[in-house]
Amino acid sequence: MAFHSLEQICRLCREENKNFYQVILEDDMQEREASAEASHAKMSQLWQAMVQADRDYDPTLRSASGLSGCDGGRAAAYYASADSYCGDFIGEVVTRAIQMAESNACMRRIVAAPTAGSCGVLPAVLIPCAHRYQLSDQQVEEALYVAAGIGQVIASRAFIAGATGGCQAEIGSASAMAAGALAYLKGGNEEVICHAVAIALKALLGLVCDPVAGLVEVPCVKRNVIGAVNAMTAADQALAGIQSFIPVDQVIDAMREVGEKMASSLRETGLGGLAATPKGMEVTL
């Protein structure tokens, strides 16, 4: 039946004394008439595909347009040797976000989450967390259910595509989904998860979709970085007990309103914003 609000999910959590993941899993079983095993098998495939895609990154590849590639290697080398501002852990998140988004630009196999343009956000936070906290596949998959449930509500109330709602709908949604997943992994209950989602989404509200030459490369690759890092800071804030003043469903509604007001030149047409800069216009196919 798919959820239309996060409040609805929270209510089910409270009334039936279940956690966020269980509610989403059970809904999927009902919706697709699948067993818990069958549902998990599907989620597990996605997680394995993310891990594989991360492993398969090739630092020598460049995209057909020549606009992206090789930066994943640069980031990895820098964080391995230099005294960076962000430190090792965030450094790893940044590196993986760039790598996955570059793999996408270079026509490698990735997992859309929720879109191909934003495919780097979730794996960029989940893979380093899985290492650092020695998470089992089951735990990560549970977090992916949480992320998917959040994405479902955003898709239902607003949008998850740059063409319809700007980049806030794509990188913003991915970041909100990742923030909720991270809050869940550290034991945050449904309320903490919702605050993490709200905080993450608010931070990226208004972000326009302005890809140079209409290609999912500039600024998309680097926006995956901010989506991932924003998810971590949002999750940390929520876990610290910081609350979003605006309830999460209303934040999603605000995103919808903002997206609807965005000029079409700022919604994946490649006609406005960075795409319309003199440098951006130099790129022709």
Binding site: M107, A112, A116, A147, A148, G151, V216, L285
Partner: protein, 222 residues
Amino acid sequence: MNIFEILGPVMVGPSSSHTAGAVRIGYMARKILGETPVKAQIQLHGSFAATGSGHGTDRALLAGLLGMEPDDSRIPYSRQVAHESGLAFSFENVNLRDAHPNTAVLTVWGKEGNQVKVQASSLGGGRIMVNQIDGIRVDFTGEKPTLIVQNEDKPGVLADICYARYSQDVNIATLQLYRNQKGGYAFTIAETDTDISEDVIQALPHMQGILKVIRIASEEEK
């Protein structure tokens, strides 16, 4: 949307609409042709025409025609695969009227001499809609098991089709009829809840007035 439309598909980048959806359009055209294609004329409209080359839309469509699915890592090299497997192809940009911005028209010839013209659009998230077959307007996604029957537009044919499926205990979810002109050719398109067995496919073409039967399996079955 179910949660696996939010997470996933596993796909070759860079764009779910311009790449993954394009692969599925090519794949669907191959299914509708019903045999191995040897020649394809591909027309790109709207954003497919404007940004297609940077998104690999051309290679994605070809890959689908070659039978690849959206996660096939050979997609970037599909032009080469096409040359090797004897699929001749050409691309051109067109301006269609009243078409979705991500639309392609594929005219495809098969090894055994069949020919079909398919117009389809990519809706986002890798999902597609087939809009026309041989100039006749249709509307189906291919997400559910789908049966496409080309038949003469005359009384009784639909009843036969339905009976054939009913007797096989296949539950029809949606049923649509399209025709070019009264008494001409028509397409009957049925989306079903469960997969349609080979028996139905075997039995149908022998019925009067039925010209061609195409079966598209569900995602799970593939």
